[in-house]
Each structure stands twice: as structure tokens, then as C-alpha cells.
Amino acid sequence: MNLATLAARNVLRNKLRSVLTVLGVAVAILAFVLLRTVIWSWTVAAEYAAKDRVATRHKITFINPLPLRYKSQIEQVPGVSEVTWATWFGAKHPTRDQEFFQSIAVDPKSFLSVYSEVIVPAEQREKWLGNRQGALVGESLAKQMGWKVGDRITLTGTIYPGDWQFDVDGIYTVKRSSLDKATLWMHWDYLNDSVSPRQKDQAGWYLSRIKNAGDAATVAKRIDALFDSQDQQTLSMDEHAMNASFLGMFSAILKAIDVVSVVILLIMMLILGNTIAMGVRERTNEYGMLRAVGFLPKHIGAFVLLEAVVVGLLGGILGLIFAYPVVEKGVGRFLEENMGAMFPYFHMDASVAALALLLSVALGFLAALVPAYRAMQLNVVDSLRRVG
């Protein structure tokens, strides 16, 4: 027996109360993990960005397009090996317009070359390359919408109005997480031929594969310098920064989820603090005995803090045990299969689990600070006089 085991044994003192408290902490940790996983799944795409790609967009905003002629100029920049371009199409399913997914017009050949992580069967690849109305659909999106290769689909344009017909020529997956599996890629030519003359020959953004991943910043500077004196200036950045700037659109939502996840933990801390304070009040007499036989206030404080940390740790571990199947088998699979466009990678990341466990212990410690301080301040004689 030692001081730590004594503190741990005290957790079992009032079993019902301890079980309920640990369950309370576990549920709070489960909610925290779910919310943090939402944030993680939205931001992970940015984290997984390819290091050897530089994105170039309009300097003012990515909504403004750039002239298509810039492509050949970017190709000449030292350090750039190949270039592709893309335009945000923004289509919706006519009857399922609440289900957001990305639809982007690309130059298929250079797109597949620059995005080498795309895996699509050779036959489907050839079919898509040769069909102006062809669509290459991510497997998560295909599952979500129930699309199969060979389907003829009609989508409604939000930026480019009207009904747009597509043939699902291929369903892709990826070999790296640098690209999601929930986007519909269409031919840029199909879009370009159908828009007004004012909108023709424009690219939403360029993506350049660079020769050396370490040169991304230098290459980006070179590209921007090239267009500095032209009427449409550019802003180039590595793909990670580009993805992050897209995520900026959702920053308010992410922030709100972030705040809610912290509030849940603070509520947990207050509940835990109250439970620990009740325990301290009930054990005043025992603390008096311990002080009488020679234990110091620091020992009493350590008992209280250790007990809270043990409760926090048990709750944290139990919360993660609850969270794992919920995220990995339940909610996560459901979201990936049915809302793959919003949550392409809904997994319980080790960093989220570690943070949850660390916070459950840290908040247990913080929750017990006031009760521990009070226990340390108890007068020995008064404590012994108090019964129960």
C-alpha cells in the first residue's frame, strides 16, 4: 500500500456515486470526442494536402477567375513540372438539394497527371477522358447518391444555371488522403462551351506540381511575381494553405463546435468538483485522524487531487471506449457513407483521443483544486470533533 493506492481505493468508497461520476465524465468525453472529430474531419483534408503542389488563385478572392492563358506562363516558371486548372462548378442534385457535395470542372488529362493519387480503373479512365459529358465521381459520393458507372444523371447548376446532364464514367478512390473521395469531377470543356462569351476561357485556380516539395514557397513567389504587373494578379500558396483558406468559409461553424466541446468539459469539471467536495466534507473526520498521526496538509491535498485524477482518468478511458465504436463503426461510417462530401474522413484520430484523455485528467485535477485547498486548511482539532 502507498499514498496513491490509498487515494485510488477512496474512489470506491461510495460506489454508486463514483460510478455515476465516472459515467458522467465518460459521456462528456464521448461528446467531446464526437465534436472534436467533426472539427478534425473537416480540417484533416487541409492537413493531408500534397506537399508537392502549389495552388494559384486570384489575388483578391478565390471567387474571381483567372485567364486561361496564365497556364502556359506558369508552366515556364522554374521549379514547375506540370500544371492543371479547375473551376468551381457548384452543382446540386435537383431533388436532394440539401446534400452538399463538391463539383469541379477540370482538364481531365492534366488533372489525372497532377493528382496522381487518384485511382480509377483503366477502362473507366479512358471512357471519362473521351466523354465531354463524363463525370468522375468519388466512391463516397457515389455511395451517398446511389450512383453507378453508366448512370445518366442530371444536376442543377447554382453558379451556371440550368440542368446539366452527365454520364457517370468512372468511380475513383485515392491512394493518399490528400484528396477526398466525395467530389464530382467534370470536363472543363463541357462547362467552357456552355457559358456566355464573358465567362469563357477562365480558370478558377491553377494547380502546379513542383519538382522539389521543399521549394513550394519559392515557386509560389516566382508565380506571383510573374503576374505582378498584369491586370489580374495572383496569390499562390502550397496546397495546405489553399485548403485552409477554403475552410475559412466554415470557420464560424468550426469555432462554435470548438466552444461547445470546451463547454461540455467545463460542465464535467464542475460536476466532478462538486462530487469531490462532497467527499471531502464527508471525510473531514478522517482527514483529522490522518493529520493527527502525522500526515501533513500536502498529503491531504495530494489524496484529494489524486482521487479526482483517478476519477477523471477512469472517465476518460471509459469515454474513449464508448467513443471508439460510435465514431468508427456507428456515426462515422454513417456519415462517411451518407454525408461523405461533408465528412470524407470521419475517424477517431489518435490526437483527438490523446487530447480527450489528457483533458479528462487535467480537468479532474483542476476540479479538485478548491476542495483540496479546503481540506488542507482544515484545523486538526476541529476536524476530529466533526463526526461524519
Binding site: A292, F295, V381
Partner: protein
């Protein structure tokens, strides 16, 4: 200080008495309840020799528990001097007093104050956690103390599995496990039936006669007081 204590002990020995373990001289204790001044102890002196068993009796509020607490190093007098086991308690810091108690004083409480989550042996081992003894040695000493109080068979029982008398025996084992010179007992038989109380008193006498412990016991029970070699009656903070 040590020299004075030694000289004093030699002087007592020269008169054929046991050396003094507790020397309380002219202590007073005053509390304030709001503006009201309460003199709990008034210019009180007491000397207790080694292996003496002293009972303190008196009505509620007479100051006997306050005197016991001061002797045990749990409380401080407002004035006067207190020497226990050769140490001047009045000048000690709180931390030094805690160390003093751990080494020199064993406590027996009316309500036992055993930790319900620990077995009898673990409860007895508790004060030894403050020492540098190895776990095996701590365990051995706790088992020896439980044997002394006749609870060798029940050392793995939890307090809820023991009778009141057995719980008090565990408390006594906890009080002697550090081999202190002084044992303070506050109403040790207050919660027990007559038979169990007699057993406990017999055990306390054994600690005095066989293990040379000095015991100060506060009690309301005249039968318990009879077990002690000396009985002091307090009233309004003074010996009668």
C-alpha cells in the same frame, strides 16, 4: 533543552520515581467566541512519568479534551510550557509538531476513525507510510501490532466486518505500530458495551505494564477511570 530534560529526569529518578514523559507547567488556553472570552484551561500543571496510566475526568467543557490535545501536540496552549518525550512543543512549527506526533504519540479515538476502504492491517500500516520503511517491513510491523491486540486472525477484514470492540483494537494497534512513548485516548470505551470496554481497558493496562507506554485517557466512565493508575478530575479548566 535536552540537558534540562535529562537533569530533570535524573532529579525525579533520584527520588525513586519514574522519569517524567509529560511535563505541563502553568498552561492556560483561551478561546474567543465572538467577543466572549472562554478560559478553557487556567494555569494548569501536570507531570506524568514513564509507563503511567492517567485518566482525566470531568464534566463536558471542563477542558479535559483540550488538555489531551495540547499534550498530543494537536493544539497549543495560550501560555505555559509543555514538554512531551523530551520535546518542547510550544516552540515547534506545525510541520515539526506533525513529525513529533508521528514519532512519539499514538492516538485512540472514541469513533475509531478507521478508513473503511482499508483492511485492518492496512489501517494499522497507515502511520508507517510516513516512514522510510520498506513495504515488507511495514507489513510485518502492522501484523505484529495486530497480534499484540489479539486480532491476528482478522487482519484482512475490513472495518465493516469487525465488531466495535475489534475496531477499537485495530485503532490501538494503529496507535502502537510506530512504537510511540505516549498514547492519548479520547473516550476509548465511549461507544462500546461493558464487556468490550473491559477488554479494551485490559489491553491498555497491558500496554503500560508490558510495553512501558504512557497513556493519557479522557473518559466519562468511572469504571474506565478505575483502570488507570491515576485519575485527575478537571472542572472549569483546573484540577479539583
Amino acid at each position: 533543552m535536552t540537558q534540562t530534560a535529562t537533569e530533570s529526569n535524573q532529579a525525579v529518578k533520584a527520588e525513586g520515581q519514574k522519569p517524567a514523559v509529560i511535563e505541563v507547567k502553568g498552561i492556560s488556553k483561551t478561546y474567543f467566541r465572538g467577543k466572549e472570552k472562554l478560559d478553557v484551561l487556567r494555569d494548569l500543571s501536570l507531570t506524568v512519568g514513564e509507563a503511567e496510566f492517567v485518566a482525566l475526568m470531568g464534566p463536558s467543557g471542563s477542558g479535559k479534551t483540550t488538555l489531551l490535545n495540547i499534550i498530543a501536540g494537536l493544539d497549543r496552549p495560550s501560555s505555559g510550557s509543555v514538554r512531551v518525550a523530551g520535546a518542547d512543543l510550544v516552540g515547534m512549527s506545525d510541520a515539526a509538531l506533525a513529525g513529533f506526533r508521528a514519532q512519539n504519540v499514538g492516538f485512540i479515538f472514541q469513533t475509531y476513525n478507521l478508513l473503511p476502504v482499508l483492511t485492518a492491517r492496512e489501517n494499522v500500516e497507515l502511520p508507517l507510510l510516513l516512514t522510510k520503511l520498506a513495504p515488507a517491513e511495514r507489513r510485518r510491523r502492522a501484523e505484529t501490532a495486530l497480534k499484540v491486540v489479539g486480532l491476528a486472525e482478522r487482519m484482512d477484514h475490513y472495518p465493516r466486518q469487525l465488531s466495535g470492540g475489534q475496531e477499537q483494537r485495530v485503532t490501538i494497534a494503529r496507535a502502537i505500530v510506530t512504537d510511540p512513548r505516549v498514547i492519548v485516548a479520547d473516550e476509548p470505551t465511549g461507544d462500546l458495551d461493558r464487556e468490550s470496554a473491559d477488554d479494551i481497558l485490559k489491553l491498555l493496562r497491558k500496554l503500560v505494564s508490558e510495553f512501558n507506554k504512557t497513556i493519557i485517557m479522557v473518559t466519562h466512565d468511572p469504571a474506565a477511570a478505575e483502570s488507570a493508575g491515576t485519575v485527575h478530575h478537571l472542572d472549569k479548566g483546573k484540577f479539583k
